[in-house]
Subunit: 357 residues, 2 copies
């Protein structure tokens, strides 16, 4: 029996519901494959603010560090939206990324044939779309200094953030991206704004240099404005995309929305060592929290990413992925992906379907 210690971070809104469904399935799959998951739970986001005054309590970070993987659900809600930035749920998310050194964020945008009509794009445009965005997650303008609101000589306020990357920061994410592309379609598109930004020029130079080590990967470059266009125009041209923190935030969300079913998309955040952090792309959906309406599938698929990328348990990962596909094939749908003739289920109901499969 393999043993893994998993830190669960249910967070806010629909977080606890979708995570509960996922844990049930992990337990069953664990029994089937002789994997012993030891779950421990901690606070992050709004609930953490309410209970401790901080969006990422020190105890949470410590527990995460002592575990093999972190499974996060969702954070945030209207309630905490007007607090000062250091007390907002999002700040907890940024802090855990930095605290665990999770510099590589993998965000797949895959269109499932069963859900093709959920897309706002024409079916022939999105059919077969299978993009992996590799986003740098602990650098760039999210963390660069100086930052803040300062006073100018003329006594006006000036807001400042710094977009910066060092060579080694680019190199380590580029390595992840080239290796990811190798395991996928062998195509890597690096997105920057090198025609305007110095930081992008450095980015482009280092990615180009790294390409020499991966002759089997076909590297291309796009400016971020053009990349946003091309994602809308012809998303099938993309296989793996590598980009910085801010551009990755924007483009991975645009790519996710091409599929029309953001309630289906997982993500993985990885460092050089364990633990990685795994979470759905969607938010905490406070408007439907506690109503048993949430779609738990992105969370289940995030657990699959945890098994595949975080714990090297590909068999277990495949079991989860197959269960999700089978549930869709059998016509089960939560409200967000419901369509004519399908069988409506709630969050728990979907969980039961998955367990039956």
């Amino acid at each position: 029996t393999r043993q893994y210690r998993i830190t669960l971070l249910p967070g806010d809104g629909i977080g606890p519901e979708i995570l509960a469904v996922t844990v049930d399935i992990l337990k069953v799959v664990g029994k089937q494959l002789e994997i012993d998951f030891q779950f421990q739970e901690a606070l992050i986001g709004g609930v953490a603010i309410d209970e401790t005054g901080k969006p990422l309590p020190e105890a949470t970070l410590k527990m995460c560090r002592s575990s093999d993987a972190v499974l996060l659900a969702a954070i945030g809600g209207y309630k905490w939206d007007n607090l000062p930035r250091e007390k907002r749920p999002e700040t907890g998310l940024l802090a855990i990324r930095a605290g665990l050194n999770l510099f590589a964020n993998l965000r797949p945008a895959t269109i499932l044939p069963q859900l093709i009509n959920a897309s706002s794009l024409k079916p022939e445009i999105v059919q077969g779309v299978d993009i992996m965005v590799v986003r740098e997650l602990t650098g760039g303008i999210y963390f660069g200094k100086p930052k803040g609101i300062f006073e100018t000589e003329t006594k006006e306020k000036r807001g400042v953030n710094t977009m910066a990357y060092t060579e080694s920061e680019v190199d380590r994410i580029a390595k992840v991206a080239f290796e990811t592309a190798q395991k996928r379609g062998g195509k890597l598109c690096s997105v920057d704004k090198a025609n305007v930004l110095d930081v992008s020029q450095l980015w482009r130079d280092r990615v180009t240099l790294m390409a020499e080590k991966y002759p089997d990967v076909e590297l291309s470059h796009l400016y971020v404005d053009n990349a946003a266009m091309q994602l809308v125009r012809e998303p099938k041209q993309f296989d793996t995309i590598i980009t910085g923190n801010l551009f990755g935030d924007i483009l991975s969300d645009a790519a996710a929305m091409l599929t029309g079913s953001i309630g289906m998309l997982p993500s993985a955040s990885l460092g050089l060592e364990k633990p990685g952090l795994f979470e759905p792309v969607h938010g905490s959906a406070p408007d439907i929290a506690g109503e048993d309406k949430a779609n738990p599938l992105a969370q289940v698929l995030s657990a699959a990413m945890m098994l595949r990328y975080g714990l090297n348990e590909p068999k277990a990962a495949t079991k989860l992925e197959k269960a999700v596909l089978e549930a869709l094939a059998q016509g089960y749908r939560t409200g967000d992906i419901m369509s004519d003739g399908m069988k409506a289920v709630g969050c728990k109901g979907m969980g039961e379907v998955l367990l039956r499969i």
Copy 2:
């Protein structure tokens, strides 16, 4: 007779062809409405680099400053892509924006019923889309300092750019945006990343403050990642969008691509005083340059924006816009917007059609 001095900047690639068609039409409309356009031509972009070594020669800027409006076609091409940044065509574009203090960039993304099938989105999603992106154009990370590639203590290189806005920079673009929204659907969506960036927090605070002066405009805020999603998901929810330089670059291109016919989209760049600069959203298309294949309609519509926003000649503007719509209604199409059963024309051919109307 009103007299206007117009500086023409044909630039590179298809620039000269599309501008020639546009000038012919301006002359005819000028005669009809007793407007005397005095055209003068200057160098910018790649041709300027070839002839003078600089992407924006001093003489060009001087000529622009002495004119009532600047009509730019397109710049750039493979030939100049590998020059150092200060010698690239794009640098000329940034320099003319800064040099003429063109802080307000208006980018409409309108879907024409005749071209609805050109969109990669479903017709019911894009039908009726009519978005105006108001992009700040002379501040933000495009011009912020410090910028450059520096050496760290550990002797690695670090690329740095600074995203910064002062209160007055936000205020002046916000004013333009609120007034634009007032003349349109009365809805303004401000896009930032205030959950992460200090500069965005300042932006949001100032835009919110400015809203008090425009009680007839309904203001909302979106984070840039969500805005990219919403543009793909349901573009009709947007009327006027205000955002900073970098986010505006990305989102206006994404919005443009929703229409599926970027060869149709004009833009206006305005300062507090004349001259404004008017140019198509599309690029210089070096692959089809000189082949009489280019679509001149975005350039013609840019001239219409010049008449409307730059010279306050709304009648003449309407004439140009009507001619374009009528040419489409009569079934004339250049290659980029061709579809079954339509009449194929080249760049010059389209110009002749417009003159006949």
